[in-house]
């Protein structure tokens, strides 16, 4: 099997994306260091349960994507499409839960980027990630269309691996955001 899986280009893109997030994480960490009390206080206001549901949703979706890749490696196009659709459904679940969270903070509580430094980071990090979930879903949807058209096979399925790699990155980032922003005290 080729390494890395998928198109080399997506890996360069993934690395670049990770650098952007790393800068954000580092900024969060250093700012928190000087404002521990503020961060702890407002962290309590976040909906950890919703975030946990979202964590499970993304991990599950990543599992589904793995199944889709193994399906196409066995030349099973139909299963590949089905698993990808399941992953997309999990992505949609993430978006819905997240929007519920935003609705509570933005509309009910009236929080904005200017409320305080913690919320600035909370909104920036989660919203930037939110946009990446949408982007990942667009990529997966494109892969579904191609797969349904029968463009992939056991011999040639670079596209599936490419989409899967990007999706795993989206998942991985959330696995850092969840403890960093919602849980760690």
């Amino acid at each position: 099997m080729r390494y890395p899986p998928g198109d080399l280009a997506i890996w360069i893109f993934i690395l670049a994306e990770l650098v952007v997030f790393a800068a954000f994480f580092a900024a969060y960490a250093f700012t928190r260091m000087n404002n521990v009390e503020l961060f702890n206080e407002f962290q309590q206001q976040l909906d950890q349960r919703a975030a946990l549901i979202n964590t499970l949703a993304l991990i599950t979706s990543s599992y589904f994507v793995v199944r889709a890749v193994s399906a196409i490696r066995e030349d099973n196009r139909r299963h590949c499409v089905v698993w990808l659709l399941a992953a997309l459904a999990m992505g949609a679940l993430f978006l819905i839960v997240k929007m519920g969270e935003y609705q509570h903070h933005f509309i009910v509580e009236g929080v904005s980027l200017s409320t305080n430094t913690f919320y600035m980071f909370y909104i920036s990090l989660t919203f930037f990630h939110f946009m990446h979930v949408i982007m990942g879903m667009v990529i997966l949807a494109a892969v579904v269309v191609m797969a349904a058209k029968g463009k992939y096979s056991a011999a040639e399925h670079t596209g599936v691996e490419t989409g899967a790699s990007y999706w795993h990155m989206v998942d991985l980032l959330w696995l850092i955001i969840f403890p960093l922003v919602y849980v760690m005290r």
């Binding site: 670049a16 994306e17 650098v19 952007v20 200017s114 980071f121």
Partner: protein, 463 residues
Amino acid sequence: MKYKSQSVAKLYFIAAIALFVAQILFGLIMGLQYVVGDFLFPTIPFNVARMVHTNTLIIWLLMAFMGAAYYLIPEEAETELFAPWLATLMFWIFLAAAGATVAGYLLFSYSDLAELTMNELLPTMGREFLEQPTITKIGIVVVVLAFLFNIGMTILKGRKTSINLIMLLGLVGLAVFFLFSFYNPVNVVRDKFYWWWVVHLWVEGVWELILGAMLAFVLIKVTGVDREVIEKWLYIVIAMVLITGLIGTGHHFYWIGTPDWWQWWGSIFSAMEPIPFFMMTVFAFNMVHKRRREHPNKVATLWALGTAVMAFLGAGVWGFLHTLSPVNYYTHGTQITAAHGHMAFYGAYVMISLAMISYAMPLLRGRNAANPAKSQVLEMWSFWLMTVSMVFITLFLTGAGILQSYLQRVSDNPMPFMVVQEQINLFYWLREIAGLVFLIGLVLYVASFFVGQNEPEAVVADR
């Protein structure tokens, strides 16, 4: 040249080079005014020289982009231009408007020009880089709309390639964001905020798409590397440009009265703006390394590689120098900005335009592939003279900027602006000398179009 209608590009390229010469002459005038304050006063005051220097730059780059589009879009689409006559007509309108505007700057006081052009009907004048009278701005919109229509229809009727689509996307973005030059709110914060939507979103947004498309086109031509490989790179670079560049606008919002979270957004996203430029450098060298043919037009390849390196240094590294808000707190609006501006514009947009001209012009003038060796060698000389002198201009201005930031803002006893200017006089003299070397390079560049005309063109065997 594969399609007859591509020849319209030649007009645009010639006008671009002529305006380039004018730009540099006015740059030298104002460079001297930094140290000899009353030089040419009151005929050409500093503010006028500066306006002409920056405005001719923008206009000649637009000319070059349009020329490039008229050249590469038919070739990519594999069809004649939709309406060549329209392209020619728009050229003359654009040139006349540009000429009249510059003449207006030079012949009238700015306030008289505003009155003469009836600025009060739709006030848009008086903003840095967007000083053009409203009537000129409307002219630009008309020309650009006709241009977009022309190339859009060409793309529609022909082959749709990634290069064409990205070029079109960049040019449409250019048109859309220019519209914010008509929005002139009374509130000074809003005024500055949307002003950047033209200025930043052009050079750090949509223009980079144009740059990417032009670079990809030239690289496909001179390296013979598979289109698929080049297009893939192009997409990644473009995605990164958009992610970092759009929100990166925030690095202009630090001190103008916007909410303070822009300090974070601006710092983090704009700090990533060097990434796509770095990718472009890796991309260009990789493609040239993997080349499948030895193209006889060596100098076009040189410009293409040059732009990849200098754009990264000028836009990427020199931009990063002062993009973080805690640094920018001290460096804002100092000569550091000027240093960055010079190398970024030269590296990213001047060099890619010259790469395109260098590739296309021999073909437009009826050569098979390239200019004779003699003229290429002269053009290479001009490449090195202009590029090296630009590096020195940038270094001198950076030195001036560091000293200025320190004396004026960091030290325990900050000095007034004009006192500091005298302290950094030496750097301005050195910059002016480097500028003269740049002019020599430019003269050689123009000369390279005229030497060795009757000699046989350079040839290289295929690999």
